[in-house]
């Protein structure tokens, strides 16, 4: 375990370079390049606003901003989650020839997606200006759920990247789960819709929910950090991260031979 950690630390430049490479690759072939990172959340916002705000006549005047606050961080999570099953199984040619901390592969995917997520936040801030929301120093609190999200998603990605080596068809299942979670998380609706007595249960079962609530509270309602939300989600984050990490490390030797 210690050996594994020190190996990772020694090779941290590799992680950096992998993330840079992936960011470059992901925009190189497109006409609009990096602009997609901004356009993408806006398009999604318009679609959901059209569906729920216009067709179903729900949501209220600031609904576009409301969706955006949930959708942008959620997409960071769901894309990382879906990609993680392939992050090792599609890099077999590398793993079978070069010795490097294999754990960097899922981490690269997570970090790349969350760097793109930062651009999504930029979009949120701009849209927030249109809706006359008070943007202030309290926005710095966003760092807390953001870091928490990265660590938690890393844990999930480490776990599923290993599972993806053994069962290639898990990809379909994961995509289904990611899509269902969109509707099971407070992205398109407010947490108020969940009856109060089930709310703790809901937060406990869905680790993304407290994060999304924190983001939205800070951005839209000028709230400070909710201590109980932060406590729940940091506990969840730590548990998920360590499950993922131990699962990865204890299986590493086995999947090296399997591939």
């Amino acid at each position: 375990m210690i050996k594994n950690l020190s190996f990772c630390l020694k090779r941290k430049d590799l992680l950096k370079q992998l993330v840079i490479s992936k960011l470059i690759v992901s925009q190189k072939d497109f006409l609009l390049g990096y602009l997609w990172w901004v356009i993408d959340p806006l398009l999604l916002m318009v679609i959901y606003w059209f569906l729920i705000g216009v067709i179903f006549r729900r949501g209220g005047p600031d609904y576009p901003l409301f969706i955006l606050c949930g959708l942008v961080p959620f997409r960071g999570f769901s894309i990382s989650f879906s990609q993680s099953v392939a992050s090792i199984s599609e890099k077999i040619y590398l793993i079978s020839q070069i010795n490097f901390p294999r754990i960097f592969l899922p981490l690269t995917d997570v970090l790349t997606n969350h760097i793109k997520l930062l651009f999504g936040f930029l979009v949120i801030f701009i849209v927030a200006l249109f809706f006359n929301v008070r943007i202030g120093l309290h926005y710095f609190y966003l760092i807390v759920p953001f870091i928490s999200q990265i660590i938690m998603v890393s844990g999930i990605a480490m776990l599923f990247s290993v599972i993806g080596v053994y069962f290639r068809d898990i990809k379909n299942l994961v995509q289904f789960i990611a899509r269902s979670l969109l509707y099971l998380s407070p992205v398109l609706y407010s947490i108020e819709r969940i009856p109060v007595r089930y709310r703790d249960m809901y937060f406990l079962c869905n680790p993304i929910a407290p994060l999304l609530e924190s983001y939205r509270g800070i951005i839209m309602y000028g709230k400070q950090l909710d201590i109980s939300l932060v406590t729940i989600s940091s506990l969840q984050t730590l548990v998920i991260f360590f499950i993922g990490y131990f699962f990865f490390v204890s299986n590493e030797k086995r999947f090296l031979k399997y591939i």
Partner: protein, 245 residues
């Protein structure tokens, strides 16, 4: 002081006939009704012991499937053995396949950095050898072009150039010298010799017996995953060459 030390190393593989996945599903389904079907196991490497000191050059010979590549992977750290003890002091660099970490959508420059850090360098260390790598590969004009527009020769040159400019303690070579045109090959061989001189230990796998006897001072003959013979006499290689039908 021993730089590479292997004691009773063994790597076990499972042999499952048919598609792996269908076997797996079948096994889990049938296991409800009867005992689990047995998976055949075999040792791809078994009881391998060897010690190499600074300055040693080890030549490995053996038929296809004798475990040569598996042994290289153990030395390289890509595979962790199931039993035995492995101690490799220093960083091992494998020339198993030049440019293994290359990405077609990245430019030559970006690929040099990516490949360099894959070999264990820091970004700063790549900075220092970057110019040398580019000029050796003769790719100054194309270094900002995406790799997918490179010819296979250009790609091989770049891969080779990165590999030999990375200073490593232990060099592992698996059948080389297939890169580029005639002129470049000559240059490559020269650079290779220079590279070999600075490495502490070289491990070569080749079917070229002359190359092995010229280059190496220790020889290992692998057969069916086990050591047939190991020692510092070139007779081992001749014996192997004569054993072939």
């Amino acid at each position: 002081m021993a730089v590479v030390e292997l004691r009773d190393v063994g790597v076990e593989f499972k042999k499952i006939s048919g598609s792996v996945r269908s076997q797996k599903v079948k096994r889990s389904l049938t296991s409800i009704f009867k005992k689990r079907t047995k998976v055949e196991r075999f040792w791809a490497l078994n009881n391998i012991s060897l010690t190499l000191y600074k300055g040693d050059t080890l030549g490995i010979v053996g038929k296809n499937g004798a475990g040569k590549s598996t042994l290289l992977k153990v030395l390289n750290g890509v595979l962790v053995p199931d039993k035995g003890y492995v101690n490799v002091r220093g960083n091992a660099s494998a020339l198993l396949n030049f440019g293994a970490g290359f990405h077609p959508n990245l430019s030559g420059r970006e690929n040099i950095y990516l490949n360099g850090v894959f070999f264990g360098l820091t970004r700063k260390e790549v900075d220092d050898i970057y110019d040398e790598i580019v000029s050796f590969a003769e790719l100054e004009d194309f270094i900002h072009t995406q790799l997918r527009y490179y010819s296979s020769g250009m790609r091989a040159r770049l891969g080779f150039s990165v590999a030999v400019h990375v200073k490593t303690d232990i060099l592992i070579i698996d059948e080389v010298y297939g890169t580029g045109d005639k002129d470049f090959r000559k240059k490559a061989e020269k650079k290779m010799e220079e590279f070999m001189r600075q490495a502490k230990i070289i491990i070569v796998v080749s079917h070229n017996m002359d190359l092995i006897t010229n280059l190496c001072n220790k020889f290992l003959w692998l057969e069916k995953g086990e050591t047939r013979e190991f020692g510092s006499s070139a007779d081992i290689v001749y014996a192997y060459a004569n054993s072939e039908p």
